[in-house]
Each structure stands twice: as C-alpha cells, then as structure tokens.
Symmetry: C2
Subunit: 356 residues, 2 copies
Amino acid sequence: MPELRKDPIIQRWVIIAAERGQRPSDFKAETTVIDVNPKACPLCPNNEDRTPPEVFAIRLDGSKPNTPGWSVRVVPNKFPALSLNGDLNRRGIGLLDMMNGIGAHEVVIETPEHNADWDTMTIEQLSRVFQSYQARLKALSEDIRFRYLLVFRNFGVQAGASLSHPHSQIIALPIVPQLAKEKLNSARKYFLEKERCIFCDLIFQEKELRRRVVLESEHVIVLSPFAARFPYELHFFPQKHSHDFAQMSEEVLIDLATVMKRVLSALKKLLGQHAYNLVLHNAPNPVPRPGRPDFWGTLPYDYHWHWELLPRLTRVAGFEWGTGFYINPVSPEAVAEVLKETLEQLQQEERTGEVR
Amino acid sequence: MPELRKDPIIQRWVIIAAERGQRPSDFKAETTVIDVNPKACPLCPNNEDRTPPEVFAIRLDGSKPNTPGWSVRVVPNKFPALSLNGDLNRRGIGLLDMMNGIGAHEVVIETPEHNADWDTMTIEQLSRVFQSYQARLKALSEDIRFRYLLVFRNFGVQAGASLSHPHSQIIALPIVPQLAKEKLNSARKYFLEKERCIFCDLIFQEKELRRRVVLESEHVIVLSPFAARFPYELHFFPQKHSHDFAQMSEEVLIDLATVMKRVLSALKKLLGQHAYNLVLHNAPNPVPRPGRPDFWGTLPYDYHWHWELLPRLTRVAGFEWGTGFYINPVSPEAVAEVLKETLEQLQQEERTGEVR
C-alpha cells in the first residue's frame, strides 16, 4: 500500500510509492559528465583572468589575488542572475508586484583540481570550502539590501551544472523566499507554543524511533527524511541547536566535512556517479533594517540550519508541477537501512586497507 | 537589470533574468524521442490486453470494450502511484502525519495513432480527449474518498514521459494539495474582499495592458504569465468564469482544442520538438463529505480553471530546490511577442496553402 506522508516542518505531502516496482538498488544513475576540456576550464588555476576578480580566497602559500596558489577561490558569477548595483525600486501595476533584481551571485571554486569531488577531496580541503561559505555569508550579510543568503551546489548535468570543475554558488536575495518563510513560520509557531525548536524535537524523535537515522557523529546527524521528496534525499543537521551556519566552529566544520565525505562516498558506491543538488537552509539575515518592512529581521533564532542533499535520479513531471507534491518510489526507511550497510562496508574496506 | 516578479495569485517570486545572454530564439530543445518499437507499444490498438481493462472509451464504430476500434481509451495505470482499494486510515507518530495512499491513477490513451500529437491531431480528436477528461472527472468525483482530481500530460523524456504513444494521466487524491490550496485561498480571500474572481480581474487587466496576451478566441485566452517560472510557460483560461472544466460545453472544448493546436504548432515551429508538461488546475471536488474535515468542500466556485503549459527547456537546480522560486532567462513579454508573430506566420502559411 502506498503511503501519503506530511513533512513535519512544512505542510508538504509526498506519496511514498515503494511498490511501483523499483527497489533502492534498481536506480541507475544517468551519465553526468560534462564535456569540458580542462585546459579550457575557466575555473582552473592559471585561468584566473577568465573570471571576474576574486572577492575571497584561501591562499596557504600567501600568493597574490587572481594568481595561482589558491586552495579555494570565490568570484562573482560571470552571468549573474541578479545585479549587484542599484536600488530595489519596489513597485506595482494593479495586481502585479515587482522590484529590481538586486542581489549577489558568486561562484565558490572549491579546489584547484579539475577532477576532484567532495568524496575524494581531503577533509581539510572540504572544511576550507565550508570556511569560505562562512566568510561570504558574513560579508554578504553586511549589505542591508539582502534578506536571504543561499548556498547551493549543482553536481552533474541533470542537476543543472554547466561546468564540471568542482564549484558551488552563493546567491544573496532581497526577499526571504517562500520556502524559507514556510519553514521559519512553522519553527516560530512551534517555538511560541512549546518553547522548543521543532527541528530539535524532530531530531530527538527520530533518534528514539531509530528508523531513519543514517549516521551520527559528535556534531552532525544525517536523516533520511520521513517525507522525502526524492529517492536518497538526505538532511544534515547540527546536533546542537544553531540557526546560523556561519557561526559554526572549525571543529564542527571538520566533523561535517568528515560526515559529508563518508555519505557521498556511500552514495557513489550504491548509485554510481550521479547528479545531485545540495542546498543550505540557513536563517535569514537577522540585521534589522530601518524604514523597511522586516518581519524576519528580529527573531530567526528558532531556526535550525540544515543541508539538504537531493540526488537527481527521477524526473519531476506534470504531477509534481500541478500539485507541488511529489511521488517518491523509494521508502526513506529502506534508504536509511541500505546506506547504513554501505557505510559499514566502506569502513570495513578502510580497516582492511589499513591492515595491508 | 533583472526583475523580481511576484505571481499575482500565489506568493511565489521569480527572477526574470533576460540579460543572462539567452534570447528567446537561443533555446534549442533536447531530443525527446523515446525509443519504443510501435509494435511493442502497450497503448497501440490490438494490444488492448496489455493494459488493465478500460474504464472509459469513445468508440464511434460501436466496437466492444478492450478491442480495437476506439478513438480514445482510458485505462487504470498498470503501475499506479496510489491504490484504489482500502480506507485512508489517517494516523500519526508524534510529529509525523500519514495516511494510506488511496487514490486513482488512470491513463488516457489519446488516439490509436502511435505517432500523432496534439499539434497534428484533428480538432475533433483533440476535443474527444477533452470529453474523456470530463467523463473521468465526473465519474471520479463520485467517490467520496477523493478530494482533488488532477489531469496532466507529460510529453518527452525531459518531462518525465516513459511512453511515446500520445497519452495523458488522471490522478485522484485524498487531499487537496498545497499548491491548489494556495491558489484557492488566494481566490477566496480576493472574492470575499472584492466580490470578484481574482483570475477574471487578472485576465481583464492583462487585456487592458496587452503585453502578455498571446491569443484570444471566443471562449479561451492564452497568457504568457507575468511571473512565469519557465521560458515559454503559457496559461490557458476560459474567457467566461468557470470553476470546473468538467462542466464546459462541447463548443468550448472545440474552441480550446483549436487554440491548443495552434499554440503547440507555433511552439514547435519556434523551438523544434521539445518536452513539456501540461497541467489542468481545476476546483477541488465540491461534494460535502459527512464526518470529515472538509474546508474546501463547500465553496470552490470562486476558482477559475486553467491549463498550465510548462515547456522543459531549462533544468531545475539547487537554487529552485532551495528557495521554491525560479530563475527564468526569458521575459514573458518577449515570449508573447515572438509567439504572436509565429501564430501570424502560421496563419499566412495556411492561407497560402489554401490558395494553391
């Protein structure tokens, strides 16, 4: 019997239809290789002049800006979806509301190595990527025009990536988007009623039930969410309540890097090379802004940041576009189970490798 | 300057970023051909035994059920996302809400011709498809377990289709999905305030502004929506207020078929063969249901049915998954303009063809 499930945070229903004939191991990933000649890659070292000048970099060798020698490099997107200059000019024509597309759009070049990825990168390098996100989140939150900052990573053609060099993106928006508002509303409502964080309560309940916990470390817990939209969707939460990823200590970042690397390795072992989207859900910019309506500016602390990992194994079709809810052919409990086994196998392989 | 626009019905923002370097004519559709041998096609005539027994058919020759001779044939989906038998059993575990996946999932086989499509079908055949939707909407609305009925069409691999034979799908759901609720809420709120339909007002305003009207016939108007999520997204509305597609007269269906065929022909001329999703947004099932919470059961008449046509030319990526809003690289006004030109060209070609 298929099951309808409601997301405990927002009111989104999904259909878990595990009987449609696809078991977890039936998924074969589509090819995701993007045909780019590394020499022509605008994100590789020695091609620094092919991007706009960097706004941030980690350079362990003390090399100069916009030259090789960087470990992580952040540059403005050459084809930005939003414009950095100008004012918002909010306006309307009758029923139609609009404003200028003011915002920032940056590219985080995660490593000089063209063929690296998060599962093969060192934990140190991956935590440097997270440090770069933090630096840019802090810098962009200073701009009073920006209300919400989004960090995301598209990997593979099916996930919308157009370059294969490891990179992620940061977008600063002049409004809090609807999805974030829904999550924030729900967290606030729950907090006002219970004086507890809804995410903390959900994590606590899932730990008690133990059916959807994929992995736990000191600082991070990975859940196969109860109302997952997509096969192998996973959510990464900090164990300790925190509304802002930018405030995490280096210890937490290293732990998160370790967990991310393990989980992505397990997914690759299970599914092969596959496309995915990875999205940070962080509290909106908390700075109060005089002279502007600012519903979210004062109290985002009942939020709990998390990363959502969304493998692109199925296609979104008419049903999803028509309803805003999703048919997921794989049960989240089966995903948790198979991933725990795979993580265990990977650890055994590592131990065996060490003995040799 | 990119522009942020808010959908006038629901609170969804989009970024219209027409400056990202893609003009309307830059889109090349991906190949959408599905490699199926027509002889092996389970939806073709003479293969009637390869689908579950039909629940409806239009048979102009009076042929028997589940034999050839049909013009349109509706069968249960062989791999349904929802189960027809059983009760809902609404239940919860702490923060988690669920119910049994009860519903209907049907396939509308639109024509016996394997290689036909809506732009090449006769207007009579296409209006028979619409008649079949009406018949099934009426029949399924009799089942008191079903709250919302969705008709949709996935064309091409990129749109999630797995069979190339022309077909659409009908899903009956035990709940009103979030997206429909948002539209209904907005329409109701507006009606309570103004005693007018928000969709009627939007159509009236767009007719006055004349920047996004693609096509008007006696009964149908096609808009390139102000806050389009996707390039070439189009919305089809009845000119006269109506909340229920199932109640439309044959005259309206023939007019809609004529308009659909013209618009899909123009899109194919412009973009080549391309994948798309087509979704009917109809009022929820209005039958009051004793003993159940039924917020939407009593007054859906402030709704205004419409079809949404969503070409799949771009990929949904991390930004969209992370925010619930969309970056559209093509301005809706440019789409309206280029489509009007193309429709005019097609009419001239038809006229020239007639003279020869």
